[in-house]
Amino acid sequence: MENMLSILVGIFFAVSVYLMMSRYTIRIILGIAVLGNAVNLLIFVCGRLMREVPPIIAPGASVPDGPTANPLPQALILTAIVISFSFLAFLLVLAYRAYQELGTDDTVQMRVAEPADEALPPVSY
């Protein structure tokens, strides 16, 4: 199970990197969404995957009998999912506003902040 998911995580990373190398903001944002999910899955796999064994410690013992799934990474992912979701929402609105204001979703043509024909500084003292 872990091996399968590890491969899936790899595919997710590959897809997200491919998308993020695009010039168009919507693809970049999709890439970031996939990247967030890739990271969440990665941490999830780090915590061992065991559906059948409940992480309950037997009475009298201080550790569980056999290996169980570690609940901490799942708690971490819960935090990360919320964060990445809210950031994705913000980015989508920002990209839409950028399309409205700048009239393009091509990052190469977004040159308002860094104009291509900017004057050189004066060479006098």
């Binding site: 970031i32 990665l42 009475p59 009298g60 971490l76 950031f87 950028a98 902040a113």
Partner: protein, 562 residues
């Protein structure tokens, strides 16, 4: 349930029983203050006039709390507070050492200065859009990152900082801001995601998120047990991106000149420095072996970052973007300390980070004053006549120029001196050379700014010795509010330059703790260990009682299952 009433739960097995000392609440106080402060400002959204004064009050309190914390840490060494009183490493520990407390204090001072300046710079519309709540939340994230002792917790503070910085960056919603924010948002989000990836791997390899625990485990771990250098490289990439180091710096010059000048000022002061702080924390405290392995790469990145910063500054006509490149150059100098890695080098790096926070914020604010006087011009060719308009401003600006270039007698000199000395001692002659050369180029670039903006009578085209039309004079009430913060920052910069000893000794004790974290670890685990020993002793003396307790547990369990 009846069983529990008869046999009290043994809290001491998993929790700290002693209540947190009142003084230790100082560690969490900055976060509580800034979050509550931001929320309370939001509650009086309609009464925009109040916002600024409320924020200034909260930030003054924050400065006081951070100063108390700094005093306590420098007297007693690192202190810790574990959330929920769970035994570390299971609870989230907030741990403060001299490095964190120093950075938090300087950050709070800078934020207060920016807040006072913003009283005249942020209009009612900007206040209604939420400038002050965002500012308070930004400070929550920044201070939280400086004070935490848990690496995942640090990630969360990073995100708090990031989302509030997005809000500040697009405040006003002009075209240029949207453009800058696009690049800033996407690249910074990628950097924090990389940070999360590295943390996921680290947890997978070590099984802990508590920094003190990780530091101990990694120092004991035999070589080759886990691919630590890979994880360290990921952390380096993530934090270098946040700090705008050379190959991944492009978001900074694209965005820092777009928002209001107060926002630029606080960004230039704090955001990249938080990245550098996290870099020093992970590389030096957590993974010293991997840092040693990567030191040559870090050295190259440092040298190229410094040179790029200096040359970029030389090539800019827009003074705000020029300052953006100065921020990058400062990051390079801090990285020199990380690359060399001796105690003196780390001390120099910490001091340079402090210097860079103060100087960059003050520079942007000083430029803001000049732009108020000349009607919003920021291109080098259009500036001029500053000396005639305000000789005090030209003095302040000259001091900042000196401090930014690392010339004595201001706060930029000592860290550069220490960095060069430490590099030479460790046979990094070329790195020392890069520090000096980049300092020289920065001096040329900044000298030109001063000469153009203040020395010349007017914009390019004005004849030598002649004066162009004079600049505007500021109204009295405005003048006090814009000059006071810059003057205080410049005073601080001069004071640190002339009497460096107090700050140097704090930075030195911070560096010592980073390199030899015994006291840091003791602060986190000391109380827990003392409690465990006490418990073991009690169990030893009352052996039957202990047995009784263990026997009782299954009984209670059976009762529950009925």
């Amino acid at each position: 349930m009846a069983g529990n009433a008869e046999h009290a739960v043994d809290f001491a097995a998993g929790m700290l029983v002693a209540p947190t000392a009142l003084a230790d609440w100082l560690i969490i106080a900055p976060s509580i203050l800034t979050i509550m402060g931001g929320a309370s400002i939001l509650m009086v959204r309609e009464r925009a006039k109040l916002h600024g004064y409320m924020a200034c009050t909260y930030l003054t309190l924050l400065v006081i709390i951070d100063l108390l914390l700094l005093r306590r840490v420098s007297l007693e060494g690192p202190i810790t507070m574990t959330m929920g009183r769970w035994l570390p490493p299971f609870g989230i520990s907030l741990t403060v050492d001299a490095f964190g407390a120093l950075m938090a204090t300087i950050a709070a001072i800078v934020a207060l200065a920016v807040c006072v300046y913003s009283l005249v710079d942020i209009t009612v519309a900007g206040r209604r859009f939420g400038f002050y709540p965002f500012l308070m939340l930004l400070m929550t994230g920044v201070t939280g990152s400086f004070l935490t002792g848990d690496i995942f917790n640090m990630y969360v503070w990073f995100e708090v900082m990031l989302i509030s910085s997005f809000g500040l960056l697009i405040l006003g919603g002009e075209r240029i801001q949207i453009d800058g924010a696009m690049k800033y948002a996407i690249l910074n989000l990628m950097a924090t995601t990389l940070f999360l990836i590295a943390t996921g791997f680290l947890y997978g390899a070590i099984g802990s998120l508590n920094m003190a625990d990780i530091a101990v485990t990694l120092r004991k771990m035999p070589k080759g047990e886990a691919p630590m250098a890979t994880i360290a490289a990921l952390y380096f990439l993530a934090f270098a991106m946040k700090a705008a180091a050379f190959p991944v710096n492009f978001w900074l010059p694209a965005s820092y000149h777009t928002p209001k000048i107060v926002v630029s000022a606080i960004f230039a002061g704090l955001l990249t420095k938080v990245g550098v702080y996290a870099l020093i924390r992970t590389m030096v405290l957590l993974m010293p072996e991997s840092r040693a392995m990567l030191s040559d790469i870090i050295a190259w990145v440092a040298a190229l970052t410094m040179l790029l910063g200096a040359l970029g500054a030389l090539a800019q006509n827009d003074v705000r973007r020029l300052f953006g490149y100065l921020v990058i150059g400062g990051i390079g100098s801090v990285l020199v300390g990380v690359a060399v890695g001796t105690e003196n080098a780390i001390t120099g790096a910490i001091l340079y980070a402090v210097n860079s926070i103060l100087v960059m914020t003050a520079l942007y604010l000083a430029l803001g004053i000049l732009m108020r006087m000349n009607g919003g011009k920021y291109n080098l060719a259009e500036l001029g006549g500053g000396y005639k308009a305000s000789s005090w401003l030209s003095i302040l600006f000259l001091v900042l120029t000196f401090a930014a270039c690392g010339l004595p007698p201001f706060s930029g000199f000592w860290p550069k001196f220490m960095l060069v000395e430490a590099s030479l001692k460790e046979n990094y002659g070329w790195l020392a050379m890069a520090v000096l050369v980049s300092g020289f180029i920065t001096t040329v670039a900044m000298g030109r700014v001063w000469a153009h903006a203040f020395w010349r009578g007017g914009p390019i085209g004005t004849e030598d010795g002649k004066e162009a039309a004079p600049l505007y004079q500021l109204a009295g009430s405005v003048r006090a509010r814009v000059f006071a913060p810059v003057s205080v920052l410049v005073l601080l910069i001069t004071a640190i330059g002339v009497f460096p000893l107090p700050v140097v000794s704090i930075a030195q004790s911070g560096a010592t703790t980073l390199i030899n974290p015994d006291r840091y670890v003791e602060a986190v685990f000391g109380a827990a260990r003392a409690q465990q020993e006490m418990r073991a002793k009690e169990h030893g003396s009352t052996e039957p009682g202990g047995d009784h307790g263990e026997q009782a547990e299954p009984a209670a369990h059976k009762e529950g299952t009925h």
